[in-house]
Amino acid sequence: MCGSTPAAENMSAAENPEPGLTDWQPSASPDLLRARARLLEQIRAFFAERGILEVETPLLAQAGVTDPQVQLFQSAGRYLQTSPEYAMKRLLASGSGPIYQVCKAFRREPGARLHNPEFSMLEWYRPAFDSRQLIREVEDLLDKLLPPRPVTRYSYRQLFMEYADIDPFSADLTQLSERLLAEVELDFEPVDRDTWLNLLLTHLIEPELAEMGVVFVYDYPATQAALARLRRAGEQRVAERFEVYVDGLELANGYAELTNPQEQAARLEREQEQLDGQGEQRDIDHRLLQALEFGLPDCAGVALGLDRLLMVISGAKHIRDVLAFDWERA
């Protein structure tokens, strides 16, 4: 190297560590392309054996999610789906019975070690299942796909008590922030309780899960319910939501699904108000609400990130290593 190198030029060099001439090539090795094909085969065999129907739903639809924290890609007045959840619930309401889907999903986020804006998802729904039964089924599936690993179940509260030494339901904001700031340097002021809880989870707790194999976390705070139904657990109202970690990697998110159309409409309207506050206009998916009014059977559903699952299977450290062409090469 010679002469001056302004910082900004350094940056583009770092962004593309290999010379531009080679970036037509796949970012995944041939072994990983084969591992993906084998994974899809095993998944389809698993669901076929259990009599669960494979379905396809639109990726480019007239409505998307209203979650203000999720950014969408838009094209020609339509939205690339961030998950096939709404369409699959419409199928369930129409009497489809148990269904699964393997599809691409899209989130307008920066490409990063664990995030590709276009990614592969496995999502499935089980009428008449509660979250406990669905957790067992996720465990069965992972057992088929991964070498044996220890499996642990924690309620959200137990997890925080055990690894962060704080009760996530009864601690007040001062206690939550003091607990975090004792160990973490934060360069912004979280606006709500859930952000403090998320920071405690990612900074203090998740590193502890890396050596623990498969960890199921259930009974989330009601404020993090998303589309899960609520139930009473002792003093607290909790969301019947669960997350699955494998080797410390957040892999799947499941719900006992909210079926009450009024409650669902109220949650979507609350989100829409937040979006309005940010100056963003997004329509609520009225077809989803109509389906709920017609009647969504009691069911549980879960979405699992297939690219991250492949990272676990292969030990890859970066998501690009499991994608034929990652975001930078797409």
Partner: protein, 189 residues
């Protein structure tokens, strides 16, 4: 100066934090299942060399730092400052001991090295990964002892003291890895 948002943080990008120029080491985007996304960022403070671990809200930004790396030629030291010259323009810069850091153990006149300038002043000096230097003082060489694996201290022409194999003697040139300060082989000269 340009501002960079967390999306643009790449390893090697130079930004200002708490009034000090920093180089980004690592940037991890974190999006919890539900809720605010944030970035966990490791930055090296270029003044102190310390690595900071910080967490920013995604989309927040930092001011870029006027930092650039230049290849220069080391000239001499007057004891207080180490003097460098840009080979194209012959422009000279002086770096104090803190900025010169460990590089001072490896530099001899005319050696090329990398000088990092912050607002035009040397902030740090990086010696080449490998340098060849002459042994000025060491115990006499043990002839034929090439296999015992023993070592002894040797003082090099720059004043640095390293461990060398027993068979080397004064006046011989050795190749040193400046990152670890270890002997890696005999010099070519």
């Amino acid at each position: 100066m340009t501002r960079y948002t967390t999306n643009e943080f790449r390893s090697g990008l130079k930004v200002m934090l708490e009034g000090d120029p920093c180089s980004i080491v690592e940037n991890e985007f974190v999006k919890p299942g539900k809720g605010q996304a944030f970035n966990r960022v490791k930055l090296r403070n270029l003044k102190t060399g310390r690595v900071w671990e910080r967490t920013f809200k995604s989309g927040d930004s930092l001011e870029g730092a006027d930092v650039m790396d230049r290849e220069m030629e080391y000239l001499y030291t007057d004891g207080e400052f180490w003097h460098f010259m840009e080979p194209d323009t012959y422009e000279q810069h002086q770096a104090d001991q803190q900025a010169t850091g460990d590089a001072r153990f490896w530099l001899q006149a005319q050696q090329r090295c990398e000088v990092t300038l912050y607002n035009g002043t040397p902030l740090s000096v990086t010696a080449p990964n490998f340098v060849e230097l002459e042994i000025t003082t060491t115990d006499p060489g043990v002839k034929g002892d090439t296999a015992s694996g023993g070592s002894k201290p040797a003082t090099l022409s720059t004043g640095a003291v390293i461990k060398v194999p027993l068979f080397l003697g004064e006046g011989e040139v050795v190749r040193v890895d400046t990152r670890s300060g270890e002997y890696v082989g005999r010099g070519k000269s």
